[in-house]
């Protein structure tokens, strides 16, 4: 439902509008016949990652320091990194890193003018990708990452994709990091953890792990829903293994951008 607050800086439609009830045939979401796109339970959707500006190689003067475009199945995310540039605190010993996350208005299935969790996600991303950056190398400066989700398909999967995209953009900007952060998500279906759930497959319990393989450190864990401790540990271990595979994809994309 669109909010009733009228934003005077935008062209507004009616104050209240709702989605119609779609009478489509319901998808069979049980796993009895396997997943709807034929993937294995531990397979991610195909990833396309590109470091550098979206269109061609030309850098204009108004360009970002680094940018990346990331696709995972139907998830599409674009990220621009600015920095290191002059920061807010002129006597800070470390750089200030901040992520600004936003959904494009048409990115999600249900359109809301202001997604209320954009701020929460921005904070989560800053805390998850921040530890990978050598902030001590850039005193008095600030590094900003702007992420826009063009199309989303599964909340946790989109978050994981955003983390991967920011890592790629930071590396493209030449910012010193301990390692690139790779993230992946899982959803609990029945008693099984299924990797990389789409919107249709998403269940009540889902897990996201962000991992730095070279230094063997986890930078972020996010869990929605409740599950037992053994299942939780199982998921973290499984996610970490999948993250290594995602890491390989990100590294390949970085190498390709240099050619």
């Amino acid at each position: 439902m669109s909010g009733a607050v009228q934003d005077r800086r935008r062209i507004n439609g009616p104050a209240r509008s709702v989605e119609p009830i779609y009478t489509a045939t319901p998808l069979d979401t049980s796993l009895a016949k396997g997943r709807s796109d034929g993937r294995g339970l531990d397979h991610m959707r195909p990833i396309y990652a590109k470091a550098g500006p979206i269109a061609s190689t030309a850098q204009t003067t108004g360009s970002a320091s680094g940018s990346a475009f990331y696709e995972q199945g139907s998830i599409r995310i674009s990220c621009a990194v600015y920095g290191p540039r002059s920061g807010r605190k002129t006597n800070a010993r470390r750089a200030h890193f901040e992520c600004d996350f936003q959904y494009a208005p048409f990115a999600c299935n249900s359109r809301t003018h202001t997604q209320t969790d954009e701020h929460e996600i921005s904070l989560f991303l800053s805390n998850t990708v921040g530890p990978a950056i050598r902030l001590d190398s850039y005193p008095k400066s600030s590094i900003d990452a702007y992420v826009t989700v063009i199309e989303s398909d599964g909340k946790m999967a989109t978050l994981a994709a955003a983390i991967n995209c920011i890592s790629l953009a930071l590396a493209d900007a030449g910012i010193e990091m301990y390692d690139t952060v790779a993230a992946c998500s899982m959803g609990l279906r029945g008693s099984q953890w299924v990797v990389d759930c789409t919107q249709a497959e998403e269940a009540e319990c889902s897990m996201l792990v962000a991992y730095m393989p070279s230094v063997d450190e986890v930078t972020g864990v996010l869990q929605n829903g409740k599950t037992s401790l053994e299942m939780h540990e199982q998921a973290v271990q499984a996610c970490t293994n999948v993250c290594v595979r995602v890491y390989a994809v990100i590294c390949r994309a970085l190498q390709a951008s240099l050619e």
């Binding site: 669109s2 934003d7 800086r9 935008r10 062209i11 507004n12 439609g13 009616p14 209240r16 509008s17 709702v18 989605e19 119609p20 009830i21 779609y22 009478t23 489509a24 500006p53 979206i54 269109a55 061609s56 030309a58 204009t60 003067t61 108004g62 360009s63 970002a64 940018s67 139907s74 674009s78 990220c79 621009a80 600015y82 600004d100 936003q102 494009a104 208005p105 048409f106 990115a107 999600c108 299935n109 359109r111 900003d144 702007y146 826009t148 063009i150 199309e151 989303s152 398909d153």
Partner: protein, 274 residues
């Protein structure tokens, strides 16, 4: 320490520290820094239906400028004064993603002005009566959002073409209102597309350095433009809109020339939209 020898720069450095002089070197020799002729447009590429979550969408590229338009359709009650008309709200989103010129957060001046202009332009294109589901009770409310992913000049042309393509791509499921519950249900199996009143073909010209008229300025040229002229033609070749921005002056023969060139460019845009 005064020195009489001439300073020599690498091209990139020269472009950075003295952009005006850099552009003049090319413009005074009757060419542009990317090799185009003065009135030559960049190639336009349009792909429709790129966003799965939107009912209508399109991605447009003019050179390096990349713009995505997505249209979401929701249902609402019509306005009391126009009980058989739906809504179309168009918004342009310019964020740090596309260029360092823009700040994050609420739409800035340029985005607001562009949104308003495109909104008025497309009032002539879409017949809002086609968005009626049930007179006086339920209508479609379309939210068209144009997100710029990369700005290399001339975002406005790309935005207009993207919205044109997205509206042509729009598929509305057949909706019906249940009079007892007041709930609107929609069947995705049966889809209708809108019949547009007219189609729009934009062309933007800039007066760089107050002397040189160029078509489809890219980012480097746009920064030095003293005046910009947008010419929008409809499918009959008639003038749908002329909009001059900027503090510089453009004389009337130049405006006539721009309109003539826009007519030449119309075919290129039209074939891209197919």
């Amino acid at each position: 320490m005064a020195s009489t020898e001439q300073l020599t720069f690498a091209i990139e450095t020269f472009k950075r520290i003295h952009p005006v002089e850099f552009q003049r070197r090319f413009l005074s020799q009757d060419t542009r820094h990317d090799g185009r002729a003065f009135l030559q447009f960049r190639a336009t590429h349009v792909v429709k239906g790129t966003i799965g979550t939107a009912q209508g969408s399109a991605t447009v590229r003019i050179g390096n400028t990349t713009v995505v338009c997505g249209i979401k359709a929701e249902v609402s009650e019509p306005d009391v004064n126009t009980p058989d008309q739906g809504y179309l709200a168009t918004n342009v989103d310019l964020s740090p993603i596309c260029s360092a010129n823009y700040r994050p957060g609420a739409p800035g001046d340029e985005a607001q002005v562009d949104s308003e202009h495109i909104f008025r332009l497309f009032g002539e294109v879409v017949d809002l009566k086609q968005l009626c589901i049930e007179n006086d009770q339920a209508v479609w409310s379309l939210s068209a959002d144009i997100v710029c992913l990369k700005s290399d000049g001339n975002v406005l042309d790309a935005a207009i073409i993207a919205l044109m393509a997205a509206v042509e791509d729009l598929k509305l499921p057949q909706a019906s209102l249940d009079p007892a519950t007041g709930v609107v249900s929609a069947d995705k199996a049966i889809e209708t597309q809108l019949t547009l009143r007219k189609r729009l073909f934009p062309a933007t010209f800039s007066l760089v350095d107050d002397a040189y008229l160029v078509a489809d300025a890219d980012d480097a040229e746009e920064r030095l433009a003293t005046a910009t002229l947008l010419v929008v033609l409809d499918d009959q070749g008639r003038l749908a809109n002329v909009w001059k921005r900027g503090a510089g002056t453009i004389d009337r023969p130049t405006i006539a020339r721009c309109i003539a060139e826009a007519k030449n460019h119309q075919n290129a845009v039209s074939s891209a939209l197919e």
